[in-house]
């Protein structure tokens, strides 16, 4: 036991060392400023993927609405950056152009960097916790949860676009000059932003590793595979799920918060239904339930999209769509698990748990209306 433990620890240290070397030494030296900044953007997206890996891969919650939390984090950060650029008591440029030239009261707290960071860490996670409690307590799950989360993303975008005076509408928030006092035009600061993003991603991956290996991590998998069985062991599965969902939301929010200064814009186009699903693509291809699959998958897809789509826009869509279809259909554990020996039957999505009801009476053949005939077989 102890040998295994130290062995595992050695592997962990080697892993951290290798990732650190790659992210902090190799990448900055090999890549140009432009490419490094691009990598920083991909890393921000990968943060969302890490959270999805936890919530979906380990927890079975297929969330099609992570864009909401990503967007909340991004917009909160962007609000601060806009206010900081405007100076004390200043009004952000777009409000002067499109609004009535005054800063709404709910923007004001974001003038403070401390409040902003707290808000980024607490608001989206808090919202996720509330939403999760409401939804999971009512045992809304599986497809219902997925569709609901998607509707949430759709509503969020319409709201953002419609409130142009305070959200910048379709243009979103952009044109940031500085990041907590550091000029964003300076390549050195952009590089530092990259380091922050890379460090944050590393911390997130390690956090997920801790979670996956904790008792809670085991419980989460149990809830994913047999939610009702867990309930009949005396746990409240809703609480188990809420925690993972909240962590995923937190990661997405942090990703969004760093995305805004790295890319220089956060707009509804980054947070809607389609980007929300796009977050899943890398996770699925990489391997949803593994530790590194989501990160590597997400980074790889982002990279491939940038380098392939400009040359073959049409081919790229077929390629990505095709790969996605094949992986999900025939390799549900993703490319990360290719070649790994699979033990036992794998039920990756949340099948109805618990008993099959074989002594339920067969419904009468045709007397009743459809009501009786259509029972059963729901997710």
């Amino acid at each position: 036991m102890s040998a295994l433990w130290s062995n595992e620890r050695a592997r962990l240290l080697v892993g951290i060392g290798a990732a650190g070397l790659l992210l902090f030494v190799v990448a900055p030296n090999v890549l140009s400023d432009f490419r490094l900044n691009l990598l920083a953007k991909f890393i921000c997206l990968a943060m969302v993927a890490v959270g999805i890996g936890l919530a979906w891969g380990r927890g079975g919650m297929l969330t099609l609405g992570q864009g909401v939390f990503f967007g909340l984090g991004g917009y909160l950060m962007a609000m601060h950056l806009k206010l900081a650029d405007a100076g004390p008591d200043g009004v952000p440029d777009f409000m002067l152009l499109y609004g009535d030239g005054t800063v709404p009261a709910w923007w004001e707290p974001m003038r403070s960097p401390v409040v902003t960071i707290l808000a980024i860490l607490l608001l989206p996670a808090g919202l996720a916790a509330l939403l999760g409690l409401a939804v999971f307590k009512r045992r809304v799950r599986g497809a219902y949860f997925a569709i609901l989360s998607q509707a949430l993303a759709a509503a969020f975008v319409i709201l953002l676009i419609g409130q142009q005076k305070v959200t910048g509408g379709t243009n979103g928030l952009n044109g940031f000059r500085s990041f907590f006092g550091f000029s964003l035009a300076d390549p050195v600061n952009k590089e530092m932003l990259y380091y922050i993003a890379a460090g944050t991603l590393l911390v997130m991956v390690l956090t997920v590793r801790l979670i996956m290996r904790s008792r809670y991590g085991e419980l989460l998998v149990a809830v994913r595979d047999q939610e009702n069985r867990v309930r009949f062991l005396g746990y409240d599965p809703a609480l188990v799920k809420v925690l993972a969902y909240t962590v995923a939301a937190l990661f997405a929010a942090i990703g969004g918060a760093l995305f805004a200064p790295v890319v220089g814009i956060i707009s509804p186009a980054d947070v809607g239904v389609v980007p929300s699903i796009a977050f899943l693509v890398g996770v699925a291809i990489g391997g949803r339930a593994t530790l590194l699959g989501p990160v590597i998958g997400s980074l790889a897809v982002s990279w491939a999209e940038t380098s392939l789509s400009e040359r073959f826009p049409s081919f790229w869509t077929y390629f990505l769509g095709g790969l996605f279809i094949l992986v999900v259909a025939f390799l549900p554990d993703g490319l990360a698990t290719v070649g790994r020996l699979r033990l036992g039957r794998r039920s990756s999505s949340d099948e109805p748990a618990g008993p099959d009801t074989s002594d339920e009476p067969a419904p009468a053949d045709d007397e009743h209306d459809e009501a009786t005939a259509t029972a059963g077989r729901t997710a």
């Binding site: 045992r139 599986g142 949430l152 279809i325 459809e370 005939a373 259509t374 029972a375 077989r377 997710a379």
Partner: protein, 294 residues
């Protein structure tokens, strides 16, 4: 009064569009538990079918009627193809079908772009559908009435088919209890395929109908898919009745809020109301209480 009546019609009309879009889903998602994100693209295929048919059949009226039939077949065959190649392997993984069919949707959209070009195309409405008729003192567009009628017809046809035909009985038996149906000599595989064919076919019909109202482009389906799923979820799984009530309910709600505020606010409010509603009734409007654990 006029405003009330015309809004009532606007709501019913929107409801009938939602219903047409959701009806196929009520079958494939509701009865089979398959979350087909490519459903919208089957509608898109139906719409392009109308476009192609009109190239061949000059008369707009004839081509519309022909398109309804061919659109059904095109949608149905696409669905059948999808079922046989992918979905049949994934019945025990409903969430993965969602993702796979999303991938299929992406590919189909790109295919439409490459085949028909990115710009929208137009399908002419027949003369007998142009203009409005007076109903209760309000001008109602004939196209809207046509779609309302089509939606009602489709629902009635599907309900009757499920209830009266041997196929319908097989579908219901399979849905109710797969193993028992199997032992009773029903080929559940064939039944699955037929169900999927029917559901996707209805999507094709919906697509043809939509050419009367809006644009025909590669992304036509994406505008409807979220709403269509919400109709099925609100209506209650496996329930034609629920889907009908939900579609018209949501249509009236959207139109009502839109009239007194704006379309954007209406859309957001409707979403919020749906989320709140599902808090109260997670099983939807019309639910079958069973021991299943959904």
């Amino acid at each position: 009064m006029d405003a009330l009546v015309s809004q009532l019609f606007a709501g019913l009309s929107l409801g009938s569009v939602l219903l047409l879009a959701a009806l196929g889903l009520a079958l494939t998602f509701g009865q089979m538990g398959v979350i087909n994100m490519a459903h919208g693209e089957f509608m898109m295929a139906g719409a392009y079918t109308a476009f192609v048919v009109q190239k061949v059949v000059a008369d707009a009226g004839v081509s519309l009627l022909v398109s309804l039939v061919i659109g059904f077949l095109v949608g149905g065959l696409l669905g059948l193809l999808l079922e046989v190649t992918l979905i049949s392997r994934m019945y025990h993984r409903p969430l993965d079908t969602l993702l796979v069919t999303f991938g299929v949707a992406l590919v189909l959209q790109q295919l439409a772009r490459d085949v028909f070009g990115a710009p929208n195309v137009d399908v002419r409405a027949p003369a007998w559908l142009s203009g409005a008729v007076q109903v209760l003192g309000v001008g109602v567009p004939r196209t809207r009435l046509f779609i309302l009628a089509l939606a009602v017809l489709a629902v009635v046809a599907m309900a009757l088919a499920l209830k009266l035909t041997p196929l319908g009985r097989r579908i219901r038996a399979t849905v109710a209890n797969r193993d028992l149906a199997e032992t009773a000599g029903i080929s559940t595989r064939a039944t699955d395929r037929l169900t999927f064919f029917l559901g996707s076919g209805v999507a094709g019909v919906a697509g043809v109908a939509l050419t009367l109202l809006g644009s025909i482009g590669p992304t036509l389906g994406t505008a409807y898919i979220v709403d269509a799923f919400l109709v099925v979820v609100v209506g209650g799984i496996g329930q034609l009745k629920g889907a009908v009530i939900a579609a018209f309910g949501l249509g009236l709600l959207q139109a009502g809020i839109e009239y007194s505020s704006t379309a954007s606010i209406a859309k957001v409010l409707v979403f919020v109301i749906i989320v709140a509603f599902l808090q109260v009734r997670p099983q939807g409007l019309v639910a079958v209480r069973t021991r299943s654990l959904a």
